[in-house]
């Protein structure tokens, strides 16, 4: 899985200072990694408020458990693990919620053979928020975070085959949402 992230000049020393309760060192660690941690959480959660709650939980847990960080892996790797575990701990039950199908599948439609414009990233992010929770978690873990289906299956307590199936349904739903115009700027009112 992809665990790259922000780094800092003398991270081991900063970690030691944070272990000793130095708030400035905690802030330095936060500033180095907050962006990537929040991005993971925001995408998994699909919701701003929940993502903020999760982010607070992750950072408080991280500072509490700093003594348990032995430095065998990069701090960022360990931290993102805490982040994903925290998020999935809260979201796991939603992975099995029943999925409501969209009213109609627009594939293939009259526009399908026309050249498509480049993907609008804002629309993409909004469409991601619109996915059923189970689809979104698998899609984010696989296509954004680089988890394998075996890792996803272990995290979510599902079979690897289910993870694959959810991924393909998730991508199909994303295409369905994007081609239907869901997530475009003028769609905000319907949120």
């Amino acid at each position: 899985m992809n665990s790259s992230g922000g780094g800092m000049g003398n991270e081991p020393l900063t970690i030691q200072r944070a272990r000793d309760g130095d708030v400035t060192a905690m802030r330095e660690l936060y500033e180095a990694h907050a962006g990537r941690v929040f991005a993971i959480l925001r995408r998994l959660a699909g919701d701003d408020d929940l993502a903020q709650d999760l982010a607070q939980d992750v950072w408080v847990t991280t500072f509490r458990k700093l003594d348990g960080f032995e430095g065998r892996s990069a701090f960022g790797t360990w931290l993102y693990r805490v982040a994903v575990n925290t998020a999935l701990g809260r979201l796991r039950s939603r992975a099995r919620e029943p999925v409501v199908e969209m009213a109609h599948d627009n594939w293939p439609d009259a526009a399908s053979d026309r050249a498509e414009p480049a993907v609008d990233r804002i629309a993409l992010a909004r469409a991601l928020d619109r996915l059923p929770a189970g689809y979104r978690m698998v899609l984010v873990l696989h296509d954004v975070e680089g988890y394998t289906h075996e890792e996803i299956a272990e995290e979510l307590g599902i079979a690897p085959g289910t993870s694959k199936s959810q991924l393909h349904k998730a991508r199909a739903r994303m295409r369905q949402l994007l081609t239907a115009g869901v997530g475009k700027v003028n769609d905000v009112a319907s949120h």
Partner: protein, 215 residues
């Protein structure tokens, strides 16, 4: 011609196409275009920029960390919070001390951490801020046995000590904020102290019914 489903096209992205499916793709521009669009979707998902991190995240974290500091005296390995050097230096420069004319200090005298006069070094200023934090934690530790205390005077003493310790922290933070008004850590110290004071007053008012005996 019947087209491939989007789920099938997604599967092809990861696993490749069987010969019969490959034949269909060779002949069908619609499915090829959709496959390409799905590939672009997959790439763009991995390139999505990070959303901005709301400021409320850090303020919530530090508030909880500060609040956990009150459990330090009970924890096997206490968390010792230190304010940033600039905040401590600000306190030192101002030379305002920490009590600021409070009159509600209890018998054990949280004023023992109050300092008359100007700290001479940054280290001294830090030590004084830490002393205020220690007084706060001691007062909280006392409060653990609060429910068992029946003597009204003793109850009042415990409450006074905790309130006084909170006032010390609040005053130290206010002093520092005169010089570093934007410092998020100091702002959060002040916020946490005021919130805890309000919570304490509310819980004790609730426990004592209409009689708020410590006022």
């Amino acid at each position: 011609m019947s087209h491939l489903t989007r789920e099938t096209l997604s599967r092809i992205l990861d696993e490749g196409a069987e010969p019969d499916v490959r034949s269909h793709l060779d002949a069908c521009g619609v499915c090829r275009a959709e496959l390409a669009a799905m590939g672009e979707l997959k790439l763009e998902l991995a390139r999505l920029p990070h959303p901005p991190v709301p400021e409320t995240v850090w303020s919530g974290v530090i508030r909880r960390i500060v609040a956990e500091g009150k459990a330090a005296s009970r924890a096997p390995r206490p968390v010792r919070l230190r304010v940033p050097l600039q905040a401590a230096a600000a306190v030192a420069l101002l030379g305002l001390g920490f009590v600021g004319g409070r009159t509600t200090v209890g018998p054990r005298d949280a004023g023992s951490v109050a300092v008359a006069g100007r700290p001479e070094t940054v280290e001294q200023a830090i030590e004084r801020v830490e002393n205020a934090g220690n007084a706060y934690r001691e007062a909280i530790s006392d409060l653990e046995s609060f429910e068992a205390v029946t003597d009204p005077q003793q109850r009042a003493r415990v409450v006074f000590e905790r309130l006084a310790a909170l006032d010390l922290l609040a005053d130290a933070s206010r002093s520092a904020l005169q010089v570093v008004p934007e410092d998020p850590v100091v702002n959060n110290y002040l916020y946490a102290a005021l919130q805890e004071r309000q919570r304490l007053e509310a819980s004790l008012a609730s426990a004592a019914g209409d009689e708020v005996f410590w006022r």
